[in-house]
Symmetry: C2
Subunit: 253 residues, 2 copies
């Protein structure tokens, strides 16, 4: 639940111009906090301010940049103003939340941390076709300072401009690449049991792996819009598997 | 336990000339059967006889060949001569064994089937550097009829002869590719908790994911030999993580 009183946990997120919360990785943590029903307040920080914000709070970076040496400061991050400690990286945050709030439902049920790490590796290798759609759409939706930062880093990654990267609607390339996305996500959908909304089963038994997938699937809904043809496609692909997941996660949005 | 009485479950495996059981995929099922302490007898079948054997038993193939259409008959397979039913593919066998033997320890603990499928995808994408070592070594260790079959299929896959594929000891290529294997397996090792031998924790709490990893790690020990430099490397890599796994699995060999 979002909360404005002092001393509640602080959740750091990145704003957009008009989409509301839009980042797939911070969505994982938003889902996690709401799932655990932990009071928090959201502070919105533009991309260029992430590193100074985390440094000031003394929150260690969770990874390095492509050179393997330079610390890479990323969101989501959370900060506990009472204990004066915080953590970044959505999986590390999930572990931290399970430890610090032992009376709330587990994000990583006993014995499943290794499975969660392997799940993240497997899922990450099946969202490659997604990036050409989502990186440009996100670039165009950010506030100016974040847009310049996001564009620069994603153009360094792709080697082309965001406008060149984006498969234009109506083109053959759009059709081919959209099909690739369907196939990649189909591999993810294939891991799920036929009758389960969630990774560990049922409709009411979410775990952090569901938020990993949910954060990236809801990204498509947010960037293209609830009523877009694109979202309608994703909702109905693979027997409605991914649409059902987002519906089952609605109570944690 | 291996057992010679009639009516016990039959476990189909592929022989080698002098290595004993050597196939990483059938090892997963051997570990699984021993873990569950189910009596079985092993029948050894050369590669060209796998398809006719499974057809005669009316066991459906678990996958298709590269063309996406032609059925691909593979081992491991198990067959229950009393119920007159069988199944192939090590993960499907694990599910089948959990269902048919409900009073034995679970291979796929409640709620972890999706995790197991994603684990298999993640693990499989981290054994790519292994194949150039293991496919040639296995080829050279098989009986003639299997050797010709295995060589043909693996050479079709790689586009070169097994002799060309194998990084010769003492060469720069050997060093580079062996290092790649260490790095790939290091990603797998990184998923594990520091103090756990097994995926779900502890030293006495194996699940089928441990047999997936174990089958491929023991492959290296079998192909190169217990006393080889190669096995000594694998045993000590990543803080001894993988060596510890094989040691913890010893009771199920």
């Amino acid at each position: 639940m979002s909360n404005n009183s002092d001393n509640v946990l602080i959740f750091y997120d990145i704003p957009s111009r008009c989409l509301g919360p839009w980042s797939p990785n911070t969505w994982k943590t938003r889902y996690a906090l709401n799932f655990k029903n932990i009071p928090y307040k959201t502070i919105w920080v533009e991309y260029p301010d992430i590193e100074p914000t985390l440094k000031q709070l003394n929150i260690a970076p969770s990874m390095t940049k492509a050179d393997g040496v330079t610390p890479h400061y990323t969101f989501p991050a959370i900060y506990d103003p009472v204990r004066k400690e915080g953590v970044t990286d959505s999986l590390a945050i999930a572990v931290w939340l399970d430890e610090r709030y032992p009376d709330t439902p587990k994000l990583i049920p006993e014995g499943t941390l290794t499975f969660h790490k392997a799940f993240l590796a497997a899922f990450s290798s099946n969202i490659e076709a997604m990036r050409q759609f989502t990186f440009p759409k996100a670039t165009w939706a950010l506030n100016d300072r974040s847009e310049a930062y996001f564009r620069r880093t994603k153009e360094e990654w792709s080697g082309v401009t965001m406008e060149e990267l984006y498969p234009e609607p109506g083109t053959e390339k759009r059709k081919v690449e959209w099909k690739k996305l369907e196939e990649e996500l189909g591999r993810v959908a294939g891991w799920y049991g036929k009758d389960n909304a969630f990774v560990m089963g049922g409709e009411d038994n979410a775990c952090f792996a569901d938020f990993m997938v949910g954060g990236f699937i809801i990204w498509i809904r947010i960037l293209f819009g609830k009523d877009s043809e694109e979202w309608k496609d994703v909702e109905k692909w693979h027997g409605g598997r991914l649409g059902r997941l987002i519906k089952a996660l609605k109570k944690y949005e």
